[in-house]
Homo-oligomer: 742 residues x 2
């Protein structure tokens, strides 16, 4: 059944809204502590309310939100960022459409900015030091929005200051393999400047890898092949298409961890202990600076040395050579060098989160969280304002029902607007540190909607397995944008699918890395999390991400003209995320299907067996048993829920089941599992170096054992990781068994 058909049955709901406002405003107690005595312990999801919410989520209001949010650049902690804090507070405190309460929490965090006085520079100089060529220091003012003091010049946040100079080398994506290849080709890296292109590995990794080879400085650019499907001419790019203009530069954080760099594991309150920034870790070891492909072309197309491998070639219209230094027949002298001047500064700044709360009627101590960051690099129309525009519309619709007295969720809902995400998920991480105990005890799930629309082809969801079922339920009842007549679910399955051993062909839900604010929730706190967006038709573009990502071209018009004219994809995301939110906050039984972890565990097990088969006497018996125990416990658990649902379960029975559902994800945490990894403690989703999707600790330990020539200590770590996984799965299974069994 599709959402559009469900809607047909609802008549007059909108007409009732206005009338209810006055009644609701005076009749509903505000700020009362305990649940209203009239709240029924059996309160369940109300499908009519769900329908009303779906109807009222308005594409045009989302568009107007986006216009306001992206009107000006709002870099973290900038005056405009603070103005948006006030905008959010105002919306969430609105007497007609606000929430029960809203507040800010402020943290004093370490950010990194380019110097106002000394611009970062990239120059080609000759042997006497004369400047022969300079890269742009800002993007071209194509639409009138790329100039002015609020547009932060392109830079690599947290890159250390320095003015290295040396012959230029092309290092592809700056991966470990790329540098090994250069070494193999006997390209001298010591004291060189390497030019890398975005992609392949994380930003910071390019500098970390380079430094190991004695490289003095790093440049990074976006290749038209990777971002523009090859297009690179001004008239092929924005504002003529969605493609990145030649002067566009991707900004970004080059910090290797997340959270405030100076206060790991502690909330960054003003009085908190802070590391000396010299003792802080995770910053790039050498200067690094991003440039546009217009400038990269000048450098790269004049490079000398051997021809780079075929898969290192790009879309700049010339052969890419390795260097070092320039070619003899180019525009630069062969001994010309590149000088990189980075003058970034670390600064302690106050960054705010905004929290808005709807008190649960029955179980106010159960929190369903929904958040997005607020800060952008420049105007940030797509990133993050497409998400915030949806957040504001969803909170408006729910707030209006709340203020009218039409609805109050069973559980509490917490809306959040995070600060300083672009610098490393800082606001959300500090939140999880400050609210650690409460969240660990009470958080049901975290829904993240960062960029809500990358493109308008299909839904894309990342999350932990238990959230699959609620997302599917939501997506099946909402119609996809466009004229296909398909539900979001049926459209989705055409683009991303997999063959499930349990369900057959289903849309594939991706896994959660550390790309947005869900990271501290899932990795540090073990809260079931998800990220929801609309995205590309991969048959139509191979762009690494939407082309103007983190540039001054990510503006309202870009979204309005190219990403989602009509904002129907925004509306689709608002409906999907809103439906998921309501199902989580209002269903009597939490709609988390823990049994859906079984498929993941089974596939991780098979991959681990293939990887490690008969190696060093690794016995998989205990792991096989643990997976089987989990499968059995989860199946029986679901049967018990089904039986309870047939009857009229008492409130405590439901609560006990829901506690098991809520806390399952927590059981996968082990603070001893990855002592080297900051925050990561989820034994199934920690970072994994190998390419095989399996238990990350096991995979990493195995890689280490392979790389260190099979030292006994390395194999002992493989065994230790195996035991950690077994203990986690046994513990998880145990929590799903009947609660009186111990």
């Amino acid at each position: 059944m599709q959402w559009v058909k469900v809607l047909g049955g609802v008549v007059g709901a909108a007409a009732l809204l206005g009338l209810g406002i006055i009644v609701g405003h005076f009749a509903i107690p505000k700020g009362a502590d305990s649940p209203a005595p009239s709240a029924s312990a059996s309160q369940d999801l109300d499908l009519k309310i769900l329908q009303t919410v779906m109807e009222q989520l308005d594409a045009n209001r989302i568009r107007e939100n986006l216009r306001e949010l992206s009107k000006e650049p709002h870099l973290a902690t900038s005056p405009r960022d603070e103005a948006l804090v006030q905008l959010l507070l105002q919306r969430w405190q609105d007497p007609e459409s606000g929430l029960d309460s809203a507040r800010t929490t402020e943290y004093e965090v370490l950010l990194s900015f380019p110097s106002g006085e000394q611009p970062n520079r990239v120059d080609v100089v000759n042997s006497t030091g004369a400047v022969l060529f300079s890269c742009r220091q800002s993007e071209e003012n194509v639409t009138g929005e790329q100039g002015g003091p609020d547009v932060v010049p392109p830079y690599a946040a947290y890159a250390p200051p320095g003015t290295p100079q040396g012959p230029l080398v092309y290092a592809n994506q700056g991966s470990e393999e790329d540098f090994k290849e250069l070494q193999k080709e006997e390209v001298k890296l010591q004291d060189s400047i390497v030019l890398t292109r975005y992609g392949g590995v994380g930003r910071g990794a390019k500098a970390v890898n380079a430094a190991k080879y004695g490289v003095a400085g790093v440049l990074v650019y976006t290749d038209p092949k990777d971002i523009n499907d090859g297009k690179s001419l001004p008239n092929e790019t924005f504002p003529h298409s969605w493609c990145l203009p030649p002067s566009g530069v991707e900004r970004g954080s080059y910090f290797e961890y997340f959270g405030d760099p100076l206060t790991p594991y502690l909330p960054a309150t003003p009085s908190s202990f802070r590391l000396n920034s010299d003792n802080a870790s995770g910053f790039p070891p050498i200067p690094i600076q991003p440039i546009g492909f217009e400038d990269a072309q000048v450098l790269l197309c004049n490079l000398g040395g051997k021809l780079a491998p075929a898969n290192w070639q790009g879309g700049l219209g010339c052969d890419y050579n390795l260097g070092p230094g320039f070619r003899s027949n180019g525009i630069f002298p062969e001994d010309g060098q590149v000088n990189v001047s980075v003058h970034n500064r670390l600064e302690l700044r106050n960054s705010s989160n905004v929290l808005g709360i709807i008190r649960g009627a029955v179980e106010p101590d159960r929190y369903v969280l929904y958040g997005n960051h607020r800060d952008s690099w420049v105007h940030g129309a797509v990133d993050p304002s497409t998400g915030t525009a949806v957040l504001l519309e969803l909170s408006r619709v729910l707030g209006t029902l709340l203020k009218k007295g039409t609805w109050r969720p069973r559980r509490s809902i917490v809306f959040a607007s995070w600060g300083a995400e672009e610098f490393g998920l800082i606001g959300s991480t500090e939140f999880t540190e400050e609210f650690f105990s409460k969240l660990q005890e009470r958080a049901v799930a975290y829904i993240n909607v960062d960029i809500s629309v990358f493109a308008n082809a299909t839904l894309r969801v990342q999350g932990t397995p238990p959230i699959q079922s609620v997302v599917f339920s939501a997506a099946k009842q909402i119609s996809a944008p466009g004229s296909s007549g398909l539900s979001i679910y049926d459209n989705w399955i055409r683009y991303y699918n997999r063959s499930s051993s349990v369900y057959g062909l289903v849309p594939s839900v991706g896994t959660l890395g550390a790309g947005s604010d869900y990271a501290p929730f899932i990795h540090f706190l073990g809260i079931s999390s998800m990220d929801i967006a609309y995205t590309y038709d991969r048959s139509k573009t191979s762009a690494r991400i939407y082309p103007t990502y983190h540039t001054a071209f990510d503006t309202f018009d870009y979204v309005d003209k190219f990403l989602d004219p009509g904002f129907s994809s925004h509306q689709a995301v608002a409906r999907t995320a809103g439906s998921v939110l309501l199902r989580l906050s209002d269903s009597l039984f939490l709609p988390l299907n823990v049994s859906d972890y079984s498929e993941t565990l089974r596939s991780f097990l098979q991959a681990a067996e293939n990887l490690l088969l008969e190696q060093h006497n690794i016995s998989f018996g205990p792991l096989v048993t643990a997976v089987e125990k989990f499968e059995g416990a989860a199946t029986s658990f679901n049967q018990r829920i089904a039986t309870l649902q047939e009857g009229t379960p008492d409130p405590l029975q439901v609560r006990m089941i829901n506690d098991q559902l809520m806390l399952l994800e927590r059981t996968f945490l082990n603070s001893q599992a990855f002592p080297e990894e900051r925050y990561y403690s989820h034994v199934l989703w920690a970072p994994r170096t190998g390419s095989v999707a399996t238990f990350p600790g096991l995979s990493n330990a195995y890689s280490q054992a392979e790389n260190t020539g099979h030292e006994p200590a390395a194999w002992a770590e493989v065994q230790r990781q195996l035991s950690i996984v077994v203990a986690a799965l046994e513990g998880a299974a145990a929590t799903l068994r009947p609660v009186a069994d111990l």
Copy 2:
């Protein structure tokens, strides 16, 4: 009001018991999963049931339990230890008086035993190596119970094998200060054998401290001054009094951590990853062997060198000299040396816990745990069988009510008999590792009754502040043994009291270290815990502990004749612990008073301020604020409970409050706080080196800063520890606020 008066009102309860058995046996469903539908969500503590339990706890049955339990030596994993596992299972599976279910969990753990073939020896040898004197290899068979193959010879568990030889030095208690004193006196320690007396520092610390000075081997003995109030003659000691006979030797574990040494943080299942025992840490670095004071006298009274300081002197009837070597006019040649031959072996053994469960009627997913270890060093009548005898009687009385159908607790009760405690709390620690997630989510409290009767003067309770109120409530309603007519509470306050800023004069509840199986529950899991016993009149003895502790003289007759003739102190402990257990399992609102943490925090704060006042710009403002926030939140929280108790709160409201009560203790855990300390993560109760009772991390960091000449890094750690405490208190306060506030 005293318990004895309450009892007066109950007539005929006992008569009903027999009748109920048949009804109960057939009428109550066994092993059903969900709470019986008839269970009332408002089920509260039934004072009549409580009275019945108090009445039925039978001193003579406890005595008979003790006789059976201590009949034979039952060293961990010995055949008799396994036989007692069966005894416990049989009792807990008894159809008339058993629990809902009982089972064993087995772990493969690393223990340490003396060699069967090569006895450990301590000899005095002359310069040609001829043996001039040998210490006893076993205790004198005074009562016929000190001989035979099941009596393990005295040894220091986990001491490494070795046969060091050297001149003898007396090192008092083997503390760091003691070795500094010897160094000051220029006593050569390198390659010496040092003789130490028990007390002052932990067993293992004596060897650790000695090894730092190049000492080759360590002896340890029990001085009559420390254990016998000076008495040392055979006719003054057991079996003629409770005093330790001259040949008695305290055995014990010298392992510095707790839990299985090879599987830290992992349950020691057969397939678990194990450290190589060479890589395991926490074992004594050099051989160490305990001896009796009869032998210590021969060594110490013949020692040469300077006279030891006054507070190093003891009760052996001679001047204690420092050495090195023997005196000129003694029985040994001056160059005589001491040879210590230790042949201990590490062995992997299977150790069992026994778990017995009573399913909760209303909230089966809330566990009140009650446990004691089962293993002893020899017969272990006092340690641990006085506790197990009480455990069996309490479980019999409750089991009988259960099987009759008279009673089922609101919450689940878990009884536990831990294995291998004497080697380092191994069974209980492995349990907390295996059941980590369940316990963290669901455990209400842990009650430990190890040695239940040290002596018969007064109750002695150690625990975290929230358990104070429930212990007081119980103790006020039970009459103390003897003819005083006082309640246990009023008797207690005469021996141990303090002036509370809130309550005035109250009995003082001690803090929890790592002396028994509560350690992993409070330190690793953050579960409110307590240890309950009857103990000494300190005006009548200064014995460090009951004199036959860990010797072959700790027998049934010892208890029956000297510690608790008539077993009325046993009964008092059974009633107190039983009442506490019932109140925790059955009260509608959990009887944990979180507000009682305020006094602790306030006193820790004051001590910290005194310690650190105006040092290195340490600002206490944030800590003061955090303490105040906690106080305010706890007070308001208690008011909300009081208000709810006046009305008829709905089941979910009660559950939410109880969750806050249960989980408060968890909020003090921080796995990043003490990275060097195995398992310790409770920021208020971790080990503290300084003598001032304050926040341990802060205190330890301060000591470190003082000792390292005020290095900036050390002061940074003080600041970090301060922030950890502040974050924990802020988090704790936050969880006590109204749950919808976030």
